[in-house]
Amino acid sequence: MSDVLQVGDRVPHREFGPLRRTDFVRYAGASNDFNPVHHDDAFAQAAGQPSVFGHGMLSAGLVASALTAWVGPDRVVRYRVRFVDRVWPGNVLHPEGTVVAVDESAGTAEVELELLRADGTLVVRADATVKNRTEGHR
């Protein structure tokens, strides 16, 4: 966990996955989202997909977990995610991101993040405003 964020600081590396159907089912139950496209392969294929795929908000949650592990819990003021591509069974995901701005008077930092597959392709983009300790504060 970082103490005082500075422009250019990077989110620590971590991996999520390989994600399995069980992970999609676990998120379905946890979020009450039982859209069959996320847990029923026959349904997903009838809808034109190769298989079930993960909830976009599951990806959003994973990036948020990477964010709070990095900047600390209780510090998220704003969190936004933009959905780019789907997560398939077997995908291994990792976040990349940096602090892009620090507002000392507001005591906040702006962070931009991406969630990527192992091959570098993009799943979601996220950006956040987090509370930032200042240099004299403990």
């Binding site: 992970d23 676990r26 979020s31 209780d74 995610v81």
Partner: protein, 143 residues
């Protein structure tokens, strides 16, 4: 460009949203949040997604008349005035704040609807979280 039968201003009925420990633990496990431990619990920042599915009264997909085969969740944003806590008893209310049409990249028109949900602390009415969901209906097949 505003759609002719814009939904802007449409508001759902208030709904209750209790933030209870078992559900927070279950959700944290599902999104790999390490801060939910036996000793301390910070609610994951995307936890309001559970309320959107379980307690929300305004069914935006239905009221917008979307073709479900070409509907996407485009974007989701949360603004917090304070972190959520286990034990919070919240009241939510959603309003359509934007309903627009724009040209798709490959022609045709796509519709973007933004639903804003305010989650307030039930006893104090303090605004805790503002959620903004952007739902997109992609262009249909041209006729």
């Amino acid at each position: 460009m505003i759609v002719a039968d814009s939904l802007v201003g449409l508001q759902g009925e208030p709904f209750r949203f209790p933030v209870d420990e078992s559900k927070v633990r279950e959700f944290a496990r599902a999104v790999r949040d390490d801060h939910v431990t036996p000793d301390a619990m910070v609610v994951p920042p995307t936890f309001p997604a559970f309320a959107a599915s379980a307690y929300e009264t305004l069914d935006i997909l239905e009221v917008a008349g979307f073709d479900l085969k070409r509907v996407l969740h485009g974007e989701q944003e949360y603004h917090y005035t304070r972190p959520l806590r286990v034990g919070d008893r919240l009241v939510g209310r959603s309003t359509v704040v934007s309903d627009t049409v724009r040209e798709g990249r490959r022609g045709g028109q796509m519709r973007l609807v933004v639903l804003e949900t305010e989650l307030r602390d039930e006893p104090t009415e303090e605004l805790v979280v503002t959620c903004r969901a952007t739902v997109i209906e992609l262009p249909g097949v041209s006729t």
